[in-house]
């Protein structure tokens, strides 16, 4: 056990070096990648002033949509519109705290992932909007002018910005989700109640004691026998933190969930629609099943 913990600390140190080295190679917090000038494609010119929003001010730009970004760890949003005749492109560059935070937002926003190969990073794009992930940046390029810009022009703007963005590893607990039966493309990261909201309400506020620091991983499953369920796995820093999170969840469980069986470090429940679920703590992990159907 002692050796295992020591190994974990060493691995964390190595990871920190890796991330630090990557950041040094690219942009730093003080020098964010530049918003492209008009030269990203012939004939385009900046339209209107640049805009920027930090912290809670994001609510002003995207209203309640800010909740998700803030929960995952939002630093700032920078926007710039460009025009060419009746066509207009707008870049929305969201800087997040880490690459994992950007990945968390991207997974929530990508829908069915439909990449444009012209864009030099992971993306899920439509003619009217490209949604892009690179490093700690989540980027959307809007193509919503009175006349559409071409796909090449949209990609050129995205790529002009991405050229200044450093690649970073995005370590996350997604690997913890078993592959068998997992619905492809449905994996999500969870860092707080807002991301969990469409799936289940386990209780008020930070019911999983994520504290704005711990990431969980979630995915729906469909097994060959027809059973379906959604699985959420949360790895805490140590067994003590997981035990405390389990105890808090058990004590403050949503009143619409009814506990039907209890064992040490585990309980079963049914929700208001009579769907079954369970919570099990094993070491430093909370493993939660819900929406279980036969």
């Amino acid at each position: 056990m002692k050796g295992e913990r020591a190994g974990r600390v060493a691995a964390l140190a190595a990871l920190a070096c890796l991330i630090g080295g990557s950041a040094a190679a690219g942009q730093t917090a003080a020098q964010p990648p530049p918003i492209p000038g008009a030269g990203f494609s012939p004939g385009w010119a900046a339209s209107g002033p640049p805009r920027a929003f930090t912290g809670q001010d994001l609510f002003n730009q995207i209203d309640g949509g800010a909740e998700l970004f803030l929960e995952f760890g939002f630093v700032r949003l920078r926007l710039q519109a460009y025009a060419k005749g009746r066509a207009e492109l707008t870049i929305n560059a969201y800087e997040m705290e880490s690459a994992a935070a950007a990945l968390g937002v991207y997974l929530m926003k990508m829908g069915r992932e439909t990449p444009f190969p012209e864009i030099a990073a992971r993306n899920s794009s439509e003619e009217v909007q490209a949604t892009v992930l690179k490093g700690r940046y989540f980027v959307q390029v809007d193509n919503l002018g009175q006349a559409p810009a071409s796909k090449d022009e949209l990609a050129a703007l995205a790529n002009a910005f991405l050229a200044g963005v450093a690649d970073e590893p995005a370590p996350s607990p997604l690997d913890l989700l078993p592959a068998a039966g997992r619905v492809g493309g449905s994996e999500r990261l969870i860092r707080g109640p807002y991301g969990l909201q469409p799936y289940i309400t386990l209780g008020e506020g930070d019911i999983l004691s994520l504290g704005g620091r711990v990431f969980g991983a979630l995915a729906p499953y469909r097994l060959p026998g027809g059973e379906t369920f959604t699985r959420l796995i949360v790895p805490y820093p140590d067994p003590e933190a997981a035990a405390a999170a389990f105890a808090y969840l058990r004590t403050h469980l949503d009143p619409y969930l009814k506990i039907t069986a209890e064992r040490p470090e585990a309980f079963d429940f049914v929700d208001f629609q009579a769907r079954k679920g369970s919570v099990v703590r094993s070491g430093s992990i909370l493993d939660i099943l819900f929406n279980v159907t036969d």
């Binding site: 691995a11 926003k109 009217v128 909007q129 913890l176 729906p220 790895p235 009814k258």
Partner: protein
């Protein structure tokens, strides 16, 4: 009247031992993890354990009692048609993603007639007089994709002016002036109409602040330390909640005030005599951002502080105050292009052409119908949806305050 949050008893179902073992089997399989995966996951976690929450936060107190003390008028919510919602669908409204203005105008007129059972002229008389000053509350978030369609606004303006309301008595409004412009609500597009944002924001100062640079606050910060838009808000009419807004200058730049008061715009308290609410059919997380949110978060300043602790309750309590309750006579939800996920900001992956308009004098019945509609759409599209009743509790809360109808059994949903 005390706030009585809706609670229903969970069903008395039980999971048997066999069922548990079945579920446990899946859990057990998942915990047989490779050392590499487990280590990779642990590496992502902060070395400091997360802070333990002290318990669910209590609901902040508000001044809703003040709103309820003001006697209602003949114009008060839920208006002349409580619980009545009309849905108009015409597949020809947006051919190839472009609005057919003539079709939208016909849809609008059909919807008004179906809502009131009267002609357009007589319908006008149910909601307005020719001396009214009518504010059209649009939703400019997500311009070009899911903001209120200009052609819908055209149809409303045509109806009002054809019934004798002077053009100068129509004002298109929202909280932020720059958002109106972004969404196409400009004097050039709407000559003769008023276009007013309740407030401005100095974007250059906001950018400087975001980049940690010294900001020139001279354009928005008056010599007395107040925001230049502060006079646009009525210090006598406010929504108070026991939640402090941040005290920093960037927040003040964007919110005009930063204490525990959210003042109503003077546009609503002094100038407008009626309001037509023109929200868009879209989600906010697992909830909806439609009629009651468009006005609840649009009529007052200093709202960021309210999102987390009160969120949907604001969509009830702000409209409970007389500047909205006694003036907002009509709601038309723009579902020409709708969005079932990724909202309330625009997200093309989840936006779809739906060719629908929804009409009601009762915004709470309207939102209940649209909430049901978005749940169905999310299921159809395979998007996760949480049907926990807490996401519509605010609508039932409005019903307890006498502002509208939320019980589906009492709602008449007419499709034409």
């Amino acid at each position: 009247m005390k706030r009585q949050p809706y609670r229903s008893m969970p069903p008395d179902n039980a999971v048997g031992r066999r069922d548990f073992l079945k579920a446990g089997g899946a859990i057990g399989a998942g915990l047989v993890l490779t050392g590499r995966s487990l280590l990779a996951a642990q590496q992502t976690q902060d070395q400091q354990p997360p802070a333990k929450p002290a318990g669910p936060p209590p609901r902040p107190k508000t001044n809703i009692e003040d709103a309820l003390k003001v006697p209602k008028t003949k114009w008060s919510l839920p208006g002349p048609f409580p619980g009545r919602v009309v849905e108009v669908h015409d597949p020809a409204a947006m051919p190839e993603g472009k609005v057919d203005a003539a079709v939208v105008k016909a849809m609008f007129e059909k919807g008004i007639r179906a809502l009131t059972g009267q002609s357009l002229k007589k319908s006008f008389g149910l909601f307005f007089t020719k001396s009214d000053v009518v504010g059209l509350k649009v939703n400019p978030v997500g311009p070009g994709l899911i903001s209120t369609r200009l052609e819908l606004v055209d149809a409303v303006v045509d109806w009002l002016t054809s019934c004798g309301l002077p053009r100068r008595n129509v004002i298109i409004w929202d909280r932020f002036d720059y958002m109106l412009k972004d969404a196409g609500f400009t004097p050039e597009r709407y000559p003769g109409l008023g276009i007013e944002g309740l407030q401005t924001m100095d974007e250059a100062a906001a950018i400087a602040a975001s980049e940690g640079k010294a900001a020139d606050n001279g354009k928005w910060l008056a010599a007395d330390g107040t925001h230049v838009s502060a006079p646009n808000f009525d210090r006598e009419v406010f929504y108070w909640a026991d939640v402090e807004g941040p005290k920093d200058l960037p927040y003040l730049n964007q919110h005009v005030f930063n204490g525990k008061f959210s003042y109503f715009g003077k546009l609503l308290t002094k100038k407008l005599t009626k309001i037509v609410n023109l929200p868009v059919f879209k989600n906010t997380g697992n909830a909806i951002s439609m009629a009651t949110k468009n006005i609840g978060y649009g009529a007052v300043c200093n709202t960021n502080r309210l999102h987390q602790p009160l969120f949907l309750d604001v969509c009830v309590e702000v409209p409970a105050f007389w500047p909205v309750r006694d003036k907002m006579v009509l709601n038309v939800t723009d579902g020409l292009r709708s969005q079932y996920d990724g909202g309330p900001d625009k997200n093309a992956k989840f936006a779809y052409i739906d060719n629908r308009l929804y009409f009601a004098s009762d915004p709470f019945a309207l939102d209940m119908v649209c909430h049901t509609g978005i749940v169905a759409k999310r299921k159809e599209m395979g998007v996760a949806v949480n049907e926990n009743p807490r996401f519509t509790n605010y609508l039932r809360y409005a019903e307890t305050l006498g502002l509208g109808v939320a019980d589906p059994a009492k709602i008449t949903h007419l499709k034409v």
